[in-house]
């Protein structure tokens, strides 16, 4: 009995130590972003007090960069991509799992190539193509690329969810003579809501965090996303520790807030049958 208790305590010590390792660096950056320069260097490990509290870094970031624009751009790109990935992905997943027709298996394999092959490797041609049609350096160009990038994984995940929907539900609607399009939009689509969290982890978070495509496809300040904007700001102000820590915290905090609010759904989605 005693041995067992010691074992459980040991397990908690290991997990707690690892948890500390996981959040320690994040806490350190956020904590120090609210401190004056002297306090950042003098006592990096202590939280801000009345004496050392300072928002100078944040003010500098707002003055010296278009952080509001970057944030809005990221929000537009991510939300529009997310909406369309979910819509197109759900429609395709439904069609592929519900109706078997000649070539549907081949089409499913074709659509899953993108799960393993990173779209990044086509960047040279993507940039050339977008330049030809005048979509380089626009948010539209980014959104189209991100939809293409997110679709394969979301179709894969959504197909698993579609399969779990009881057959009777759609058949009952069919017996009542409801047209196929309405069956999807009014019966099936609302049932796919729990899949959103899983799709978000695998396709939406990578879009918000992506550096590569904004770096390759956008050249002007007004089309930068938050990840690229912060990256360039950090490069310029690397010696100004207040600004650097503030910019990092501003990129960290919204993601952490959303993660904490939705962590239950996100983790349930991850550990559910969706990824085997």
């Amino acid at each position: 009995m005693l041995k067992q208790r010691a074992q459980i305590a040991g397990v908690h010590v290991i997990l707690l130590a690892y948890s500390l390792l996981a959040v320690g660096p994040i806490l350190l950056v956020v904590m120090n972003s609210f401190k004056s320069r002297n306090a950042i260097f003098g006592s990096p490990l202590s939280p801000p007090t009345g004496d050392t509290f300072s928002l100078i870094g944040y003010m500098k970031v707002f003055h010296a960069s278009l952080i509001g624009t970057y944030f809005a751009n990221s929000l537009i790109v991510t939300l529009v991509s997310m909406g369309l990935v979910l819509l197109f992905g759900a429609m395709a997943a439904w069609a592929l799992t519900e109706y078997k027709f000649r070539g549907s298996a081949a089409l499913a394999i074709f659509l899953s190539i993108g799960i393993m092959v990173p779209i990044r490797l086509g960047s040279v041609a993507i940039l050339k193509m977008l330049k030809t049609v005048g979509l380089n350096d626009t948010l539209t160009g980014l959104i189209l690329v991100y939809i293409a990038q997110g679709l394969p994984m979301s179709i894969f995940i959504l197909s698993e969810f579609v399969q779990q929907i009881p057959r009777d539900l759609r058949d009952a609607a069919r017996c009542d003579g409801v047209p196929e399009t309405r069956i999807f939009f009014e019966v099936i689509a609302p049932l796919l809501r729990p899949a959103i969290a899983t799709v978000a982890v695998f396709t939406i978070v990578p879009i918000w965090n992506d550096l590569w495509f904004p770096l390759i496809l956008t050249s002007s300040d007004s089309t930068h996303t938050i990840t690229l904007g912060v990256q360039q700001f950090l490069g310029q102000y690397i010696t100004d520790w207040n600004s650097v820590l503030a910019a990092l915290s501003m990129a960290i905090l919204p993601v952490v807030a959303i993660y904490i609010i939705f962590s239950r759904q996100l983790i349930a989605g991850l550990t559910s049958g969706a990824v085997k």
Partner: protein
């Protein structure tokens, strides 16, 4: 039993069925083909061309690949990047995945309290941008700030400290460990999920035979989650062989010191986009991307045809 579905579909005029499928599948297939599959093919096509000063394209066959692999101006940095990439991948396989397995094993212990707290916290870094993680660690490891040095001193290891990111001998491994720190949550979650799927009867039978938690994990659970470990390995492989963001944000396009942290992603970027040392060269860039494509393809095929087929026999 006649299925209502087949009746509905069979009674539907052919034209209407085609229209329905076009409506459902059309948008996904068009966007995906235009912006994912076609660019991959077109990039491979571009890799067989070269551009002159006026920007006109000229077909050169496989000459770009010969240059890349045999001309020492190109081949030296290419092989350096490929070798570094292999080291980067090995660090992930040897550190990230074993830690992920251990954490998943501990979290799946029956009756463990605070489970969801640990899961949430350990997965947190995975949600952050690589850029943010890179910069944060850059600050923490910086001798200027001295946080890492102070932490080591506190446990009596102060003499171990070195500016790891700045030394050619340690920069790459340090960067790889930063990436491990961030992404350990993915193997942990995937393996944890598949540990939860193991039928209770198997574990109970072993317990009746008097096996402890550790031996149950090693001899019963671990072999059963091998397919998931295979999946995690191929995800790690693909992710590592097109990694870029971390090295670029910490070390810049030149992947210093003296290219010690250069991997294929940064090499591709420099070739394609140019940098302080050279002009951008899209057709050579396309050749590098094509080589990266084949490296990833070989990995994925090995996984699909060997690893997955072997492991499936033991799957439940």
């Amino acid at each position: 039993m006649a299925e209502p579905l087949s009746q509905v579909v069979a009674s539907m005029p052919r034209g209407r069925f085609v229209a329905l499928m076009t409506l459902f599948l059309g948008p996904a297939v068009v966007v995906y083909t235009l912006f994912s599959i076609w660019p991959l093919i077109a990039t491979m096509g571009l890799s067989t061309y070269t551009t002159d000063n006026a920007g006109a394209y000229r077909f050169v066959g496989l000459a770009n690949f010969v240059t890349l692999l045999a001309d020492s101006v190109w081949s030296k940095p290419f092989w350096n990047a490929a070798w570094n990439n292999l080291i980067f991948f090995c660090v992930h396989m040897l550190v990230q995945n074993p830690i992920g397995i251990v954490l998943a094993g501990l979290l799946s212990l029956p009756g463990l309290k605070l489970k969801s707290f640990y899961r949430t916290v350990i997965f947190l870094p995975t949600m952050l941008s690589v850029v943010i993680v890179g910069f944060s660690w850059n600050l923490i490891l910086s001798p200027l700030w001295g946080v890492a040095e102070g932490a080591l001193k506190a446990v009596g290891l102060g003499s171990w400290f070195a500016p790891w990111l700045g030394l050619p001998s340690t920069a790459l491994v340090t960067l790889a460990l930063m990436s491990v720190w961030q992404f350990v949550g993915i193997p942990m979650m995937l393996i944890y999920a598949s540990l939860l799927n193991i039928p209770d009867e198997l574990v109970d039978a072993a317990r009746v035979d008097g096996l402890g938690h550790f031996r149950i994990f090693l001899h019963i659970k671990l072999p059963l989650v091998l397919p998931t470990i295979g999946l995690v390995s191929i995800l790690t492989f693909v992710g590592n062989f097109n990694a870029f963001d971390l090295i670029y944000s910490v070390k810049g396009a030149l992947a210093g010191p003296n290219f010690a942290s250069d991997i294929l992603g940064t090499f591709f970027y420099r070739t394609f986009f140019g940098n302080q040392l050279q002009l951008g060269n899209p057709t050579m860039g396309a050749a590098v991307a094509t080589v990266m494509f084949f490296i990833i393809l070989v990995g994925v095929c090995l996984y699909l045809f060997i690893v997955q087929r072997r492991l499936r026999r033991y799957a439940f």
